[in-house]
Symmetry: C2
Subunit: 218 residues, 2 copies
Amino acid sequence: MANKKQNYNHVKLYRKKLPARTVERLSKYRRLLERYSLQSENYIYSHDLGRLLNLTSVQVRRDLMLIGISGNHRKGYNIKELIEQINKIIDTEHGHNITIVGMGNLGRAVTKFIQYNQSKMNIVAGFDLDPKKTGKKIAGVNCYQIGTITKKIRELEIDVAILTVSPDAAVDVTRILVGAGIKGILNFTSVHLDVPSDIYLKNYDIITSLDEIGFFIK
Amino acid sequence: MANKKQNYNHVKLYRKKLPARTVERLSKYRRLLERYSLQSENYIYSHDLGRLLNLTSVQVRRDLMLIGISGNHRKGYNIKELIEQINKIIDTEHGHNITIVGMGNLGRAVTKFIQYNQSKMNIVAGFDLDPKKTGKKIAGVNCYQIGTITKKIRELEIDVAILTVSPDAAVDVTRILVGAGIKGILNFTSVHLDVPSDIYLKNYDIITSLDEIGFFIK
């Protein structure tokens, strides 16, 4: 019991000091390693892991030191242990419950993408305005009327929302999500959202990204 | 004629020194302003533009100075002139030709999203492996067999690809795209891509972003 508590304190300690970039890389290491372990490899060297992600082996070793893992000089890192430690650090025990808000083309496609790629998050609800979509399962997910969203978010303990509504609805829906207690938003609408500082907002602004690509390649 | 050339040289000069963040913001200003001008407003103040995007008015004025525009103290910025100057700076004359590689759920949804949001880019082709999808129009875009991709990219002068293939195909398809002369890639596959330094690669890694959101909200 004491040992368990100590472990937990360690994990908390590691978590505290991780910057966003490190968390991003840990997520990528994990995805690669899961593929590796399917191929029945037991160990991997930092330079191999680095090479697969265009990182230096120094960077890889530094990241893994930050979560309390050091490799074996001869054999490298034990893949199973590494995956387990990354799980402990970046996941919560039961995973987060997430919702797709806007079950149009993009919402459905993102739902299927997440299911296919086995994210650690549980998609527990979808929301839409269109009565043709609500009251049934879409891509395996219960789709509810958007009018019930505050109630459902609390009932289903959802803390992350993926926003795939039409641009016109983005600002209003976000206000409702924040009011209902959502803590993280992945915003696909290409609309600028103004959220309180305790909300973790990530923007996937396709139109701006295309402008940016277009500018830098000409 | 001399005047035209001088203008062109100015535009080239402005372009040269713009960092990615500025280009991003210019793209966002333009999108907002286009909405504004629909509402038949003629002028906007830097602090209004800033407020709508959570930026300081100083930041807005600095960005617009970088493209050679200074506002009128009393009236603010002329919206029409501002949009035109941003067009001149960040667009090419005829727009870029882009392709959606992988016309599954996500590819089709992204195609429709880009059309709906009136990007300055022209989607001129889609590609897929599935013979049920090829040889016809999908979401208004001609969908070709992926085997013809190198030929078609050259023929249609495509320089940007949006990658929505399955993860297993991502690395191989990217190699083909680069070989065919693609200069910019928006990668939706959540697979790490290793491209030459002259390719402008932008990653939309949904799985990693969800891990990151999950980590920082707990």
